[in-house]
Subunit: 332 residues, 2 copies
């Protein structure tokens, strides 16, 4: 109901809309409308009451409320069911819990803050209140377990495309799925899979985007390595719009991957990569070596030409771009 | 303490062991020893009290108690931590819960009965009380997520080897991981993986072995398809001994795979397979076809030569051996 009231107010723009008119259109009592308006105000919506004329929606709160997301979202199925929390330990954990309980394909879990945000390899992710977009989606893809890692590349492409277009910045993907801006970390993606032999039960893609974090949000050792979109944005943007654009990209890329395979995703990934062509240091589980990042293979693995000329495929481990050799300021 | 008392009684064999002697060796009071003996009797241990001489262990109960398992187990790390329950919904679910909480590599979850035993592709698994071995192990292997499916082949080899040796039967593996005896289903294995990009968090291998089920345990449609070890066993065996032999095989094969790769596992799998060489029907997600199962590839995928001569790799779906063409009575 509140979603419908907001839709009517938005459609009415700066022209006041009377309680009577809303009540008539939605077929509920004026008292009920009044109560909903009070609730919306409590949630942070700035709604002017013009005496004898009606209501005007001045401003929506800076919150990722489901009604806000749904009023902007154009996807067919991704993010149309939403689990919204003000604060959670980790949106990935909530998503996995709901996936284990049999939630549908495309569920979105979003929170204003994470108290225990997770990164790859058991690292943490700083997720302060309303200063970023911390969300996870549950996918139940028809891919093989062997192909699941490519979903994480898909997510990186969806996110970087949306950010660059909406904010007018030039962020880039560091293999496999970090997104850097001015050489600093803007986005982290943690993909977790639950699979049995030959069958993916679900994939949870967790994404953390620093939209308006400040240097004080991070511990000292992270301060020089982190960046937020607002710091470099040429265009104004809202978190809701950015989230909706990302979900749209993700749905489009996912449907393309289902029907055509991952080749188009990998091609786009290459376009946005700041790793390819660079001199890199690879810390693999069994050895550390230097070389040039040449390409990714069909599986999304990074191909590195080592200093002795031999090629190595990076399947796990950390890849850092060597600052001395970095182009476009892209290193981390 | 009870484990130690049982060890002393076992070592003493048919010679009565006095409460005083036990109390002396274990450095606890005779009253404490007496209480532990009562508890063991309550658990089903048949312990004779010979007046003025002491205790004799006549028979252990038909239970998979941790103390029983640990008194037979020779492994280094697999199964040395045990979560034992009389009844659970599914040992895999318990194992996943404990794995999510950070349990160690090699944890064993075992139950006398499962009320909601699970098979592949969301099928059920009948698991009546003390009539089978229903267990799961948690592994945290250094393999890549892409290699995890081979763990399920490893488990099948470990199980079939132990059963055939201990019970003197000739069970065989139907691709990928069912174990058949006289053409009927003896063992089901459900491997579930939790992974992120390039890193396996954990693999849970759940195994259900019908040891002494009867036809009445199964619903009508399953009755003709199920079999138990006892039905064909040439050698007497206990569930505890079989479980320990399986865990030993699993540990050996796992360590071999870690140091040498999966080639030896795949070679053993081929040896025990009843699928290779057979005419099969393949129900894949997108089509159904007939052909001859020729081999498995390096990834454990089944290679089928279709009737038109082309080769197809089976990555998911159901493979049934065609009864009319089955050799060695192996079909299902």
């Amino acid at each position: 109901m509140r979603k419908k009231i907001l839709e009517l107010l938005r459609a009415s723009g700066n022209v006041p809309l009377s309680g009577e008119e809303i009540s008539h259109q939605l077929e509920v009592s004026r008292t009920a409308i009044w109560k909903h308006i009070q609730t919306l105000k409590n949630e942070g919506y700035e709604i002017d009451s013009v005496p004898k004329k009606g209501y005007i929606l001045k401003e929506a709160p800076n919150r990722l409320f489901p009604q806000e997301i749904l009023s902007h979202l154009q996807t067919k199925w991704l993010g149309r069911s939403i689990c919204y929390e003000d604060s959670v330990a980790s949106t990935n954990n909530v998503a996995k819990l709901l996936a284990n309980q049999g939630c549908e394909n495309g569920l979105l879990v979003v929170a204003e803050e994470q108290s225990g945000g997770k990164g790859r390899l058991s690292r943490g992710w700083v997720s302060p209140h309303a200063k970023g977009i911390w969300f996870s989606v549950v996918l139940k893809p028809p891919f093989l377990p062997q192909e699941a890692s490519k979903c994480t590349l898909l997510a990186a492409v969806a996110v970087v495309k949306a950010i660059n277009k909406l904010a007018g910045v030039e962020a880039a993907i560091k293999w496999p799925n970090d997104i850097l801006l001015m050489g600093r970390k803007l986005v982290g993606i943690l993909t977790e899979m639950n699979a049995e032999f030959g069958h993916i039960n679900y994939v949870v893609i967790g994404t953390g985007i620093n939209t308006n974090t400040t240097v004080d949000d991070f511990p000292d050792e992270v301060k020089p390595l982190a960046v937020c979109v607002a710091e470099a944005a040429k265009e104004p943007f809202t978190r809701v719009q950015l989230l909706c654009d990302i979900l749209q990209n993700m749905e489009d890329l996912y449907e393309q991957a289902v029907s055509e395979g991952f080749a188009p995703v990998l091609a786009e990934w290459r376009k946005y990569s700041c790793t390819l062509g660079q001199e890199v240091k690879v810390i693999a589980p069994d050895m550390t070596y230097f070389g040039q990042a040449v390409d990714i293979d069909d599986e999304g693995l990074l191909m590195v030409r080592k200093e002795d000329g031999t090629m190595e495929k990076v399947v796990a481990g950390d890849v850092s771009i060597r600052p001395a050799a970095a182009k476009n300021g892209a290193y981390a």
